[in-house]
């Protein structure tokens, strides 16, 4: 039950209509909105017209090079129109059949004519259209995005990279010829957000419902510069050795070893050429994360109370075996619904998500960053970036002494694991047992989510 989610969703349906030339970060923004809303338990889905186009054109064998996007290519126009129609049709039936709340139409929607068609369709179906334009004339930023797109876009799989670059530039040129930006005078009647050069200027026009304001608020905190987010648990602690949960213990000997090795791991991953990068480091206010950060050479280290481990309340300082013995009902209740279960006098995973929200906003605003925190908090942060469903995220295994690197891209987030090769106990608890460790008879399908990622160098 989405107790804490945005209210009123029973009445509002919003269609976010993306507007902007290629390589303006539209897909990235669209994906992020979906991720954020899902994290908050609001049903949302992105409809990417590009993938419809590939599907439709692919069948008839039309090849995706730039000429396909020429305003004079009639066959191309026909396919593109069909792709838009199909995407909109699917979106409308998603709203109706699956009770969707926020649908995102990810396409250039670059002409006023196209936009007014979508507008009418939305109004016919009692859906609020919210136009979101990313407008940019900062050449460097555009180039960065182009490089990113050409390496990850499905349009250029198996294509020579020079070709991809020049072809993509050509495609943008075609779009530029008839692009009409949102204008506060002409379009004053629409609900729209216009982001100019990645939020240096923002225009918000007629934001008329709470849900819309919430989406706008989130988007305002986004940037589309490439970056890496490093996540790590603290080094092995004295409590970890004895299987106790919570507490504010110091690192074990092996934990200190990890702390000493961490600077090297980070630098290796950043690349020697970035030796002077001033990485931002965040920790919790608890000793074990600060000790883990203590050998990092970066100046900008901050501790946040919101990154503290899940508060186990009365169970703080106990082992799972002790909890099972002393509070058998609680122990079972937690296994049954780990996301909602709140420790006596303590917190639940949902509570963490709520207190993390301000941090998530601040995190979206950061560039390269390393976060050293705790198992439960890391699960929630990881779930946010990787769109892990609520019921699964508390069961993910996140081993000690492992650095996780996330690189958000337009079409996906690249995850890699960097192991420190320093042994540590396992703090993973499988459903239905009080014993720690990862056993072969897996009951939680999400446990090994992280293991599927590549081993980073």
């Amino acid at each position: 039950m989405p107790v804490y989610s945005i209210s009123h969703v029973e009445n509002v349906r919003v269609c976010v209509v993306m507007v902007g030339l290629p390589a303006r970060g539209k897909s990235l923004i669209a994906q992020k909105i979906v991720r954020y809303l899902s994290w908050l338990s609001i049903k949302s889905k992105c409809f990417n017209v590009g993938s419809y186009r590939r599907k439709i054109a692919g069948v008839t064998g039309a090849d995706a090079d730039a000429t396909f996007f020429s305003p004079n290519n009639e066959e191309g126009l026909k396919f593109r129109q069909e792709a838009v129609n199909q995407a909109i049709k699917d979106m409308m039936s998603w709203f109706l059949d699956e009770n969707g709340v926020v649908g995102i139409l990810d396409a250039t929607n670059s002409t006023r004519d196209r936009r007014s068609k979508i507008l009418k369709l939305c109004r016919e179906n009692y859906i609020e259209p919210l136009f979101l334009e990313s407008w940019c004339n900062d050449e460097d930023l555009i180039k960065q995005n182009i490089l990113d797109v050409k390496t990850t876009s499905p349009d250029y799989i198996n294509k020579d990279s020079e070709f991809a670059l020049s072809d993509f530039m050509k495609r943008i040129k075609f779009y530029e010829t008839n692009y009409q930006t949102l204008n506060q005078d002409i379009d004053s009647n629409l609900s729209f957000i216009k982001l100019v050069n990645v939020n240096t200027q923002i225009i918000l026009n007629r934001i008329e419902s709470y849900l819309e304001s919430r989406i706008v608020y989130y988007v305002m905190n986004l940037h589309i510069k490439p970056r890496a987010i490093y996540l790590s648990r603290h080094g092995e602690s004295l409590y970890n050795l004895t299987g106790k949960i919570g507490g504010d213990a110091d690192l074990s000997e092996r934990g200190w070893k990890y702390a000493k090795k961490l600077p090297e791991l980070v630098l290796k991953s950043l690349g020697e050429e970035n030796i002077n990068t001033d990485l931002t480091v965040w920790t919790s206010t608890l000793n074990r994360t600060q000790q883990t950060a203590s050998f990092l050479p970066y100046k900008n280290k901050l501790q946040w109370k919101a990154l503290d481990e899940l508060d186990a309340g009365e169970c703080d300082g106990m082992t799972y075996e002790e909890i099972e013995k002393q509070f058998p009902e609680d122990f079972k209740a937690r296994d049954d619904n780990k996301y909602e279960y709140r420790y006596r006098g303590g917190e639940s995973y949902r509570d963490i998500v709520i207190r993390l929200e301000p941090i998530i906003m601040e995190l979206e605003r950061q560039e390269n960053i390393l976060i050293i925190t705790h198992q439960a908090v890391l699960r929630c942060i990881y779930a946010y970036f990787m769109n892990v469903p609520q019921e699964e995220s508390p069961w993910m295994s996140i081993p000690l002494h492992t650095l996780i690197k996330l690189e958000p891209r337009a079409y996906s987030t690249i995850v890699s694991r960097i192991k420190a090769d320093i042994p540590a106990v396992s703090t993973y608890k499988e459903k239905g047992t009080s014993q720690l460790g990862e056993f072969d008879n897996i009951t939680s399908k999400s446990r090994d989510l992280l293991k599927g990622s590549s081993d980073g160098k």
Binding site: H8, N199, E208, Y217, T283, L302, D311, R344
Partner: protein
């Protein structure tokens, strides 16, 4: 003093603290989320009403939004406390308003203060008008508003000096400076002065192109501005419009000169119709301000609080209303309907065909009348019209059934899960004595901090405050009247928001069963009024 945590925060962000090696005390976690105020209790000597009435507090009608806040002040929706009292890595900020009179600046600055305080940001609003009134008793010489004469500059100096003291010495995080600020030159100077002291500035200009809004604001100023206490309404109205007229030629809008390119500013047009952010490399906190601005509207209506019938029902039970409850529902509805009618509101005269947006008409039957060529109000946006009335209840049967009489009159009813009573957990059906006997240590903790304490399986008031934040912003969006029928625990938290109460006050507030509380919005401060529920049987 010079190398204190304060200095560290100025350079690295507020709420942050340097990471230093700490004494190796392996053991239980000592610092909980609320550790900094564990011993802080309200001063009962100065508030005799608390000590006398068995911990039950009558609702005061004083809005706390202008109250001085101490460094140990914990606000209702604050997520955690910090040693410095400042939250987030947001720095110190001075929000400087600009705009002609009648543009809703006072309303904006006060409601923003309320919201930020509620979030736990130490915020104080400084109205230049207060300084003028203090120094020039009843003297409404127009020159004081316009010219850069010495008297005016002296007032500004006093006000700015208080702002700096608040930020530097009282651990304030956000100061809101409410004044016309008509001159570009002064704005640039202010900006430079604050920046030198590591205080970020953000200008918010309220401009209005819709004359209707100005007229409405003028009416409300003539009625309720502290400048016109004991004035004849017509005279006050004339004087106010003369003031606006006199100032208009001098006013220099933001964004017209190159100087402004350096300033961070928000232009707010027609109270939220359009919001433009310029030069924004803003932090989380400022984005939150914009979030509020998107939802802030000028209020014409009131919020009415009424308790739902029978609070003693077990939390998990959901019985329908009994006969007594039905009588209560009828009396409550009739009382409010009569009251609203006496205020000249005619929500209840509509015949069913006239009210297109009511709950009863299905969307299908509407379809034909719905033109796709013009903009419509969003389906879920309530209370956009200042002449609207919406009822909120929880999802429990007894509160939903209580709204029957309103539903019959085609009033919009919204059931919200967030309005369910505070989950009392395992102590649900126990009396306080029983709790004290059965869980003595927990009870002791509860007495120390009734706002944050959670009994096993229970919710705290703080949990409610976090939960209803969306509703609070929706409430801010709605211009018309709202009736909230809910359990007392929820009403306390809403009331706490509207009256800017601290979290020490909220648990002991008391709502009588036979009363409706009306919260009236006012630019400067909110007021509460009691309406006795009459017997119509």
């Amino acid at each position: 003093m010079s190398h204190s945590i304060e200095d560290y925060e100025i350079n690295h962000g507020f709420g942050s603290a340097p990471i230093e090696p700490q004494s190796p005390t392996a053991g239980k976690r000592t610092r909980k989320r609320w550790s900094f105020h564990e011993s802080a209790k309200p001063n009962l000597v100065e508030r005799p009403s608390v000590a006398s009435s068995q911990g039950r507090r009558r609702l005061s009608d004083v809005d706390g939004v202008h109250k001085h806040i101490n460094s140990d002040y914990i606000s209702p929706a604050q997520l955690y406390s910090t040693e410095s009292g400042r939250l987030f890595h947001a720095g110190k900020i001075c929000i400087i308003l600009a705009g002609l009179p009648g543009r809703g600046k006072t309303h904006l600055s006060v409601s923003l203060t309320r919201y930020l305080r509620w979030l736990g940001v130490k915020t104080h609003v400084f109205h230049l008008g207060d300084y003028r009134r203090k120094n020039f008793d009843a003297d409404l010489d127009q020159k004081l508003f316009i010219e850069n004469n010495n008297e005016r500059l002296k007032l500004i100096d006093q006000c700015v000096n208080d702002i700096l003291n608040f930020l530097e010495n009282d651990l304030g995080q956000v100061a809101i400076y409410d004044a016309v600020n008509p001159f570009i030159k002064n704005r640039v100077e202010l900006d430079a002065k604050f920046k030198k002291l590591n205080i970020q500035t953000l200008f918010i200009e309220s401009s209005v192109t819709d004359d209707k809004i100005i007229l409405k604001n003028m009416e409300s100023a003539a009625k309720s501005s502290p400048d016109y206490v004991n004035w004849d309404y017509d005279k006050a109205y004339q004087d106010y419009s003369k003031r606006i007229e006199g100032l208009t030629p001098y006013y220099q809008p933001m964004g017209m000169e190159d100087d402004h390119n350096k300033l961070s500013y928000i232009k707010m047009i027609n109270f939220g119709e359009r919001i433009e952010l310029h030069n924004s490399s803003y932090g989380y906190l400022i984005n939150k301000v914009v979030f509020f601005l998107m939802n802030s509207r000028i209020k014409s209506g009131s919020v009415f609080f009424a308790r739902c019938y029978n609070n003693s029902v077990d939390f998990s039970d959901d019985p329908p209303l009994d006969e007594e409850g039905k009588r209560y529902a009828r009396n409550l509805s009739m009382t409010l309907m009569d009251y609203l009618k006496s205020q000249g509101k005619n929500y209840f005269d509509n015949s069913p065909e006239q009210s297109l947006h009511s709950n009863n008409s299905s969307s299908l039957s509407l379809k034909k009348q719905y033109s796709v060529d013009e903009k419509h109000l969003p389906a879920g946006a309530d209370g956009v019209d200042e002449n609207s009335f919406v009822v909120w209840t929880s999802v429990k049967s007894r509160t939903v059934e209580t709204t029957r009489f309103f539903k019959d009159k085609n009033i919009k009813i919204r059931s919200r899960i967030q309005l369910s009573q505070k989950n009392p957990g395992i102590v649900g059906s126990m009396t306080e004595e029983e709790i004290a006997e059965k869980f003595p240590t927990e009870y002791e903790q509860f007495l120390k901090d009734p706002y944050h304490h959670r009994f096993s399986r229970a919710e705290s008031y703080h949990d409610l405050a976090i939960k209803i934040e969306p509703l609070i912003l929706e409430m801010e969006r709605m211009s018309g009247d709202i009736l909230i029928i809910a359990d007392e625990t929820v009403l306390k938290v809403f009331y706490g928001y509207l009256m800017a109460s601290s979290c020490f006050d909220i648990p002991s507030l008391h709502f009588a069963q036979d009363e409706i509380i009306e919260m009236k919005f006012n630019a400067y401060s909110n007021m509460s009024k009691t309406i006795g529920i009459k017997d119509y049987s």
